[in-house]
Amino acid sequence: MVVGVGGVPVGREPSAKGRARRTSRRDLLLGLFGSAAVAVALTPLVAASRSLRAAEPPADVVFDETYRGRHIRGIQTAATSAGRTLGDGQWHVTVDGRPLQLMRRADGTWLSMVDHYRSYATPLEAARAAVDELGPGQRLRDTGEEHMGGDHGVHA
């Protein structure tokens, strides 16, 4: 799926400000490097690190790991529009190849369609929590990409 951070066009940003986004993004990177379970997709990460050093919006930030037998993957597409702040890209998160819908809270944290009554510091944490809640044998419903993206793509 495609998640626009904030889910709205630039210029209509809600209260989650740049600071919260940077924190969230930094946490994501820390989460990636800090976890032994992570099978890192190196190339985009390196690109992201370089971008960070250059204080430029990153190309891609990807997590790609097996968590409790599930393949979870998150891609943040680089923001290309002028005027977007760091981390203001779009998230594609999948569990076993199926899109996991994420929403953003005003404090910059994330909640998923599977786990809708609390939030997590990063999309990675939200994806792992979604796996915890899915339980054995359950798969995300394949809603198809046509429902994703757009102004309201972050929620069902």
Partner: protein
């Protein structure tokens, strides 16, 4: 004449039977899944743009109040003796107490796939196939108390803490407020771990399965839970005489919340009602 909503643990055998029968009929008619869809559609998070009517917002209480009244209308078209019972999770706290009995909502999900196997809403009964869901399973799921990492239902004292707050809600009117009755009851906490869920939110997690996801309405306990939450609003009003829904007026032109929340006299989508009109429902129903 106003009807009465009762504590689910006090229903007679006949009342339980009629309640279940009406729920299954509303489902059979296809009306129930409209409620599931509506709840998904109106779940707008506060880190996004747009109007929030149902969650992370002052109108959390009136929105769900009206939502319940709508379902109750559907139930009462089937059987005019039926109303929505409430689940007092400060009293009925185990996985085997009301409402988790075979003649009401059935019990916990089984370990292998969390599928509810008992009671009238079990998939095998053929009357409760999920149409709108987060997962591709068509069966109702539960994980009462969270088997993997147990959590408890909110306590009486946690609920009392919300009721003691004399102010309905405070700026910025979202999930980040730490004061105000509304969010203390809705239950958006800060931080990690079990403290992240409080009161209303924590109950959704305690039930688990369908109830913790975007399609939480699929579990009929959703309504019993929200009837109890709704009762807290009435209790809060009794306790704080004269305290009203806030904000009374829309946020000003400079506010980030302008156009994103519903003030006391504004319309509460999708309905043609205002929070003001939902503060007193004594002509519609009462709590026993």
């Amino acid at each position: 004449m106003a009807y009465t909503r009762k504590d689910v643990s006090t229903l007679t055998r006949a009342e339980r039977r009629r309640f279940v029968k009406a729920m299954l009929e509303v489902k059979r008619r296809g009306e129930y899944d409209e409620f599931v869809r509506m709840h998904i559609e109106f779940y707008v998070s506060d880190g996004e743009g747009g109007l929030r009517t149902a969650h992370m917002t002052p109108s959390f209480l009136p929105w769900h109040r009206r939502f319940l009244i709508e379902l109750e209308r559907a139930l009462r078209r089937v059987d005019s003796s039926v109303s929505m019972p409430y689940w007092d999770w400060t009293n009925d706290r185990s996985a085997t107490s009301a409402p988790w009995t075979k003649d009401l909502l059935g019990g916990n999900g089984r370990r292998s796939d969390r599928q509810v196997m008992t009671g009238p809403f079990a998939y095998a009964e053929g009357n409760w196939t999920l149409k709108e869901g987060v997962t591709d399973g068509e069966f109702l799921t539960r994980d009462l108390g969270r088997a993997r990492d147990p959590i408890a239902l909110p306590t009486k004292s946690e609920l009392a803490g919300a009721l003691a707050d004399p102010v309905y809600d405070v700026s910025p009117w979202d999930s980040t407020t730490t004061k105000g009755f509304r969010n203390r009851l809705e239950g958006w906490g800060t931080g990690r771990g079990p403290v992240a869920w409080r009161n209303h939110n924590r109950v959704h997690r305690w039930v688990g399965g369908a109830m913790v996801g975007g399609a939480s309405v699929n579990d009929p306990v959703f309504w019993m839970h929200h009837a109890f939450v709704d009762l807290q609003w009435s209790r809060w009003q009794s306790r704080h005489r004269g305290a009203r829904y806030l904000p009374a007026k829309p946020p000003g032109p400079g506010s980030k919340q302008r156009g994103r929340i519903v003030a006391r006299h504004e319309k509460l989508p999708p309905w043609d009602v205002t929070p003001d009109s939902l503060e007193d429902v004594s002509r519609i129903y009462r709590y026993a």
